[in-house]
Symmetry: C2
Subunit: 314 residues, 2 copies
């Protein structure tokens, strides 16, 4: 298995730098006081398309050869990766074919449409998504860019924590959300390769705790019927992301739905920034594990800010 | 009438600088494209207490003499000024007495309580507010710090546009919301004194257009039963703010409620920042007056980000 290294992530950073936003690292004295530790929020909600996914998607597009660029890219995604790949493709003159489940949030469908991708809707099952994508590949010979089970995507996602550590080199803990594990894989490689004393912690909803179960049992437990508001964290690990996470992550903590919602509201209210529930999961694990984080300089990867404001939990 | 000058505002800036946040100036390519002009958002939603009001309140507190500091300050305010004065007072060891209408938003009552001020509730009429404040003054000899009808408060509010113009000196228009006119007064003095070619425009809800009527008729028209979601813009001009605004403001534009709500949502969705309806009014006048703003470098003072998330209009 070909695993990304720090230098792969550094190359990705040089490659994508002209296309991405270098997002700010924000702090809140109020939240530090409330939570009893010193937190540094790496705000990928301010990234293009409102999520870190633009980093990985851009790296994937820029890593295509000329022939592949001609034929285009395809992916199946219910959310941010779809928008990210669509925009990254358009910015580089590459055609994007996006398979989305019919029940994807309107705001995400509109985003993908707005970036000029060709959408094919399918039933909201993994099987339907994969089959529909395969049909498109058979027809177009487009390159599949999976949202996390992809070397170049993982390298791109790892660039967020490169920037974070560059700005705040004395962090003691870095926490990031885990869905399929793309962000967590890239994050953990970056952080551990630069300073293996920094604890790397995954954040997962208790109601979708397949990554923690996989981590603890040593084999991939699929995510079955996850029931969480954190709609970016529904997917299962792949062999690739599982391997990287086992090698590099110190632990995976879970958070209850009410804590996730409470933390999302807290960030909106106190920091005046919009973060999505998946991102709030990272703050929620800090709240539910005060002893672990107490007094520690903690980097939190805020994964995105794409929210359907007409369906808020408060 | 003693009117503030640019040098008064510059002195206020030196005075309050160690206490305030120098807030960022944000841009959005998406919104620029949608609105057809180049916008620079001066983000006072990131100011302490979530609003520009902290600037004026801090300047008022720091301008007290020692004897006045001993006796404390009093104000009547339904919202951001109450929180701002409470925090500014506490940071300087001054006692704050706050008169709030019973129906003020919970989030704002809690903020004031959290800053340790003594709250006295009253009926939600201007008369009840003024009478209750007067009783406190009679009892304590505290200094009244009105939320806008106050020389030092106006000087403090003017510091936001000083910072904006320092960062973006080639603006062609600067727009700010008008409620009682404190922010507009400070803004217009700063901008016009530095470069009188820059157009200074006030933004007001159509359903609370007393400032525009006052501006056009040449006499103060009180705000009677304003019906707007922009809860920071319900108050009437004072002689002081009216005089400054007549001297310095080029025009006052109004916006409809649905445009204000639409623009608030747009900023949350696209910029991932939380702004309050009063702030969205500034973007709403740009939307409703596209010819005026077309292609212009426009500074927008985003006044605050204090929103009751349980009572959203969408």
């Amino acid at each position: 298995m070909n695993l990304p290294s720090l230098s792969d992530i550094q190359s990705a950073h040089s490659r994508i730098k002209p296309f991405i936003h270098q997002t700010p690292v924000l702090t809140s004295q109020q939240l530090n006081k409330l939570f009893g530790c010193e937190m540094f929020f790496k705000c990928e909600n301010f990234q293009k398309v409102g999520a870190f996914k633009f980093r990985g998607a851009t790296n994937a597009i820029l890593s295509l050869n000329e022939d592949q660029k001609q034929r285009g890219v395809v992916t199946h995604s219910s959310g941010n990766h779809a928008a990210a790949l669509s925009l990254a493709a358009r910015m580089n003159g590459v055609k994007a074919f996006i398979v989305m489940p019919e029940n994807a949030p309107e705001v995400k469908k509109n985003a993908v449409r707005g970036y000029g991708a060709e959408i094919t809707f399918c039933k909201p099952t993994l099987q339907a998504r994969e089959e529909t994508a395969q049909k498109i590949i058979d027809r177009t010979d487009a390159t599949l860019v999976h949202s996390y089970d992809n070397f170049n995507v993982i390298c791109g996602q790892g660039t967020a924590s490169l920037e974070l550590l560059n700005e705040m080199p004395d962090l003691e803990i870095v926490a990031a959300p885990i869905g399929g594990g793309g962000l967590m894989s890239g994050t953990s490689i970056s952080i551990k390769s630069i300073n293996d004393k920094i604890k790397v912690i995954g954040a997962e909803p208790l109601n979708a705790s397949d990554a923690r179960e996989s981590f603890r049992t040593g084999r991939i437990i699929p995510s079955i019927n996850p029931a969480t508001i954190a709609d970016g964290l529904l997917t299962s690990l792949s062999e690739l992301t599982f391997t990287i996470i086992r090698n590099n992550v110190d632990d995976i903590f879970t958070a209850r739905e009410e804590t996730i919602i409470e933390c999302m509201l807290l960030v909106w209210e106190r920091m005046k920034i919009v973060i999505e529930p998946s991102s709030a999961t990272v703050l929620a694990i800090v709240k539910e594990n005060p002893e672990f984080f107490k007094g520690k300089k903690t980097g939190l990867i805020i994964s995105g800010g794409n929210v359907d404001f007409r369906k808020l939990p408060f």
